[in-house]
């Protein structure tokens, strides 16, 4: 089990109702971590439309969650 903080932005924050939550996870990778969060909050975004970042850098979905890390699921961006 790893303890991680999850960050939510924009419509993902609206859907979860929170901008940050601490969770204990047994997920083997970040894809599994997203599946848990999507199930817990009823998130409709397919993982293919999102990117994931760990500790302030983009990461691969296949990476395992690091103990104590901060993980963000990034919906399509609309800056500029």
């Amino acid at each position: 089990m790893a303890k991680v903080a999850l960050l939510y932005f924009a419509s993902l924050r609206e859907a979860t109702g929170c901008e940050r939550e601490e969770v204990e996870t047994g997920a083997a990778d970040l894809a599994g971590l997203y599946a848990e969060a999507a199930s817990r909050h009823g998130l409709q975004w397919p993982r293919e439309r999102l990117r994931v970042a760990m500790d302030g850098a983009f990461a691969a979905w296949s990476e395992p969650p690091r103990e104590g890390s901060e993980v963000a699921f990034i919906p399509p961006v609309s800056g500029g």
Partner: protein, 154 residues
């Protein structure tokens, strides 16, 4: 990959109005004969709907890291003297300045190319989101579809 010449490459987020005068002056160089800039302003319409204003939200630490990577890529690809980008976060009215990009170079090809590269990549990659308000209905977050992507969830 980074610039091999001595060259300013800088990305910033701004929480208050962007003052472009000093930003432009920061790119003046005696060896630079060309300067190109781009500004993104809040339009009064989007996708046919009347816009009353908007708010930008960023994942600040990642936005700054990714934005800095983009300006350094531009400095490595094009022979520029300097390239700088500032993106606003927070509330903005119609007509407000959302993003500014400036690039100086010996010749105009590099200045235009760097400026265009930075704004295109910022729009694609930097984790900033637009929360748009309308005069004809409720506000919403914008999450553009990528080509060929599945439809956005309701």
């Amino acid at each position: 990959m980074g610039p091999t010449r001595s060259c300013t490459a800088r990305f910033e987020l701004a929480t208050s109005d962007i003052d472009i005068g000093p930003l432009r002056e920061g790119l003046l160089r005696d060896e630079a004969g060309a300067y190109a800039s781009f500004e993104g302003w809040i339009r009064n319409h989007n996708d046919g709907r009347p816009v009353s204003g908007l708010r930008y939200e960023a994942y600040a630490s990642l936005a700054v890291a990714e934005g800095q990577r983009i300006v350094e890529e531009a400095a490595g690809r094009f022979p520029v003297s300097g390239v700088h980008c500032v993106h606003r976060v927070g509330e903005l009215p119609v007509g407000g300045l959302a993003v500014w990009v400036g690039a100086s170079a010996a010749h105009r090809d590099a200045a235009f190319d760097a400026c265009r590269y930075v704004i295109d990549q910022v729009k694609l990659r930097v984790p900033i989101w637009k929360h748009e308000s309308y005069t004809d209905g409720p506000a919403q977050w914008l999450h553009p579809d990528e080509p060929g992507s599945p439809p956005r969830p309701a």
